[in-house]
């Protein structure tokens, strides 16, 4: 296990390094720079700005400097928001996005898991068809459409929620439900198919023939093993949803991290592009790692010995 952890940490660092490298050169390849705006900046000012941020250095030196400061955990200054460093942006935006993501994940687990279990238990009955129909619907409707639909119905017509904004607890609900739609549907489908898989196995038959109650068979015996695929999916899901969604945050005017992914690209705000991407990637990699560790607890058959079993 220890060897596995060390190996994985090294692999994670290499992956992160590669991602930072790809993103760095892609960002630099975007035509234009952070100071090319509609209002032309005088040449002398531009020169000074470029010197201040070391844009006049050769590319390899900029790259080396960036990787070194990244290793120290410093994501650099923002070019667009003078007073802010990228670390500030992450520190301010991430809690907002994470809160929203947390609520969304609670919703999707709270609805998706029971829906999937019921669907598997009542396979091919109306309950199953009902859940499956709505889960395909949930997967098929793009989130920006769902968001505007919610804004239209609950904000504009029924006046239950504010159309957009952030600050009151009610403001979390619409964006969180929007974010939760896809994962809820996906988890329900995942849970159903893995539950069906598990329910067809012999040990379930044994449990039933022992005369255990259906509740015990389903919840104690089947659920634990059926959860494994869902846990796998949770890793990338948490990473994606906690780091903020551009569309949902823009539509609902939420001051999270999500909007920076795209606005920074438009602003040619290199450090913010890199910072948010690396942050997201790090989050994703760590989440996947944690998922692998959780596996070992859920399924004792999985061991992370490095020798292959022949």
């Amino acid at each position: 296990m220890r060897k596995f952890v060390i190996q994985r940490v090294i692999a994670m660092l290499i992956t992160l390094f590669i991602i930072a490298t790809i993103t760095f050169f892609l960002a630099k390849a975007i035509p234009g720079g952070p100071f090319t705006k509609e209002k032309a900046v005088p040449d002398a000012v531009l020169k000074n700005l470029e010197r201040k941020y070391h844009f006049d250095d050769p590319l390899w030196k900029q790259y080396a400097d960036y990787i070194i400061s990244l290793a120290k955990g410093d994501l650099g200054p923002s070019f667009r928001y003078d007073a802010l460093t990228v670390n500030d942006i992450v520190r301010k935006g991430f809690p907002v996005s994470a809160l929203l993501g947390f609520v969304a994940i609670l919703i999707s687990l709270g609805l998706g898991l029971p829906a999937g279990i019921i669907s598997a238990y009542k396979q091919n009955f109306w309950q199953d068809n009902f859940v499956m129909f709505f889960s395909i619907l949930g997967i098929s409707i793009p989130n920006f459409i769902l968001a505007t639909l919610f804004m239209y119905i609950f904000g504009l017509k029924l006046h239950i929620f504010n159309i957009a904004g952030w600050g009151r607890w009610q403001d979390v609900i619409l964006p969180a439900v929007t974010l939760a739609a896809y994962p809820t549907a996906y988890i329900a489908r995942l849970m159903r198919s893995s539950m069906l898989d598990v329910l067809s196995q012999d040990y379930i038959k044994t449990a039933r023939s022992k005369g255990l109650s259906e509740y015990r068979v389903m919840i104690i015996h089947a659920l634990k093993n059926a959860l494994i695929p869902v846990v796998t999916y949770l890793g990338p899901l948490i990473a994606a949803i906690f780091t903020g969604s551009f569309i949902v945050e823009r539509l609902f005017f939420i001051p999270g991290l999500g909007r920076y992914y795209v606005t920074s690209i438009y602003d040619r705000d290199y450090t913010v592009i890199l910072g948010t991407t690396v942050f997201y990637a790090a989050f994703l990699i760590i989440a996947n790692f944690v998922v692998d560790i959780i596996y070992a607890f859920l399924d004792p058959r999985i061991t992370y010995s490095t020798e292959k079993i022949k």
Binding site: A11, M12, I14, T15, I18, I19, I22, T23, L26, A27, A29, I30, P31, F133, I136, L137, I139, S140, I141, P142, F144, I145, T148, L149, M151, Y152, L156, R192, S193, L196, D197, F246, I247, L251, Y261, V262, I265, Y266, I273, T276, T277, Y280, A281, L284, I285, N288
Partner: protein, 304 residues
């Protein structure tokens, strides 16, 4: 004493025919089609897709309006007999634009899925078939790609390449073949150990021939299912790119562009958002239903 002969009656053997247990053998595709036909939702999906493709091809030809013809005397026209979906802020007929958008969106879906299919099948096939070190290196690379936030890389690529249909194909092609490669590799690993591969080898077939003629055709079920389910993903992704302003440029409009334009005025003219949104959702729904049905039909082992 009972006469046993009265109790028993001799069976007339010639009258009873053995039950016919042999059914005519049906091929893989006929069998799949038979199973698909039973799945109503999948069939509905298939029919809707056929109708959508027909609308995309022929709709703009027969429509009385041009998709980019503006009419400033008739902006924001309500839904009426002459403008079925109303008109937009430049007086363009929304129905025609939605039909035209179907061309772009469906093209993106099919082409992106096809590119991913080619790259994924070749990469996964070669990796699984070669095995050993080659497989190790190739899969390590896939693992790294798997850890990369593809969405962000594709957005960056789109900015670097600039907006446009071809670049959407390229960005989606680069971004999304990883899943396909993994599935094909898994299939190949198990198929190459089977007897028919050995038979082909014994007959002196080259490795390329074994891979292309024997292994990939046998893995076609999961490949088709994955490719089908990739189509709605690509359509959604194009809509997403257009929504953030990186899609096709005006006056050409995909559903994503139309929806994103519609969002701006959805409080006053919800029909501008509603119709493109409806078409996106119906299309994605149909492909998902069809993909699900195909999975049950083509890949019975996965049947749930």
């Amino acid at each position: 004493m009972i006469n046993e002969k009265e109790l028993f009656e001799p069976v007339k053997t010639e009258e009873i025919e053995a039950k016919e247990y042999i059914r005519p053998s049906i091929g893989y595709w006929a069998d799949a089609w038979r199973r698909l036909k039973k799945n109503k939702l999948a069939l509905i999906g298939l029919y809707i897709i056929i109708v959508l493709i027909a609308l995309a091809i022929f709709g703009p030809m027969v429509s009385v309006y041009e998709y980019d013809a503006t009419n400033l005397n008739n902006v924001y026209a309500p839904i009426s007999g002459s403008h079925w979906f109303g008109t937009d802020e430049l007086g363009r007929d929304v129905f025609t634009r939605v039909l035209y958008g179907a061309r772009i969106s469906l093209a993106v879906g099919f082409v992106a899925s096809f590119i991913n299919l080619i790259i994924g099948v070749l990469y996964g096939g070669i990796s699984g078939f070669m095995g050993g070190k080659v497989d190790n290196v190739m899969m390590r690379f896939v693992d790294i790609l798997y850890g990369v936030p593809i969405l962000l890389i594709v957005i960056l690529l789109m900015v670097v390449l600039g907006p446009g249909l071809t670049n959407i194909f390229i960005a989606l092609g680069i971004g999304y073949w990883v899943g396909m490669a993994r599935i094909v590799r898994g299939q190949t690993l198990s198929l190459k150990e089977q007897e028919f591969t050995l038979a082909a080898k014994t007959l002196g077939a080259s490795r390329t021939r074994i891979l292309v003629r024997h292994i990939i055709p046998n893995a076609i079920g999961p490949i088709i299912v994955t490719a089908t389910l990739l189509i709605p993903n690509a359509i959604f992704f194009e809509a997403f790119l257009s929504f953030i302003g990186l899609g096709v440029s005006a006056p050409v409009a995909s559903w994503g562009v139309l929806a994103s334009d519609g969002v701006r005025s959805f409080q006053s003219h919800p029909n501008l958002l509603f119709f493109p949104a409806l078409f996106i959702s119906i299309t994605m729904l149909s492909f998902n239903f069809l993909g699900d049905g195909l999975r049950d039909a083509l890949d019975p082992r996965q049947r749930k």
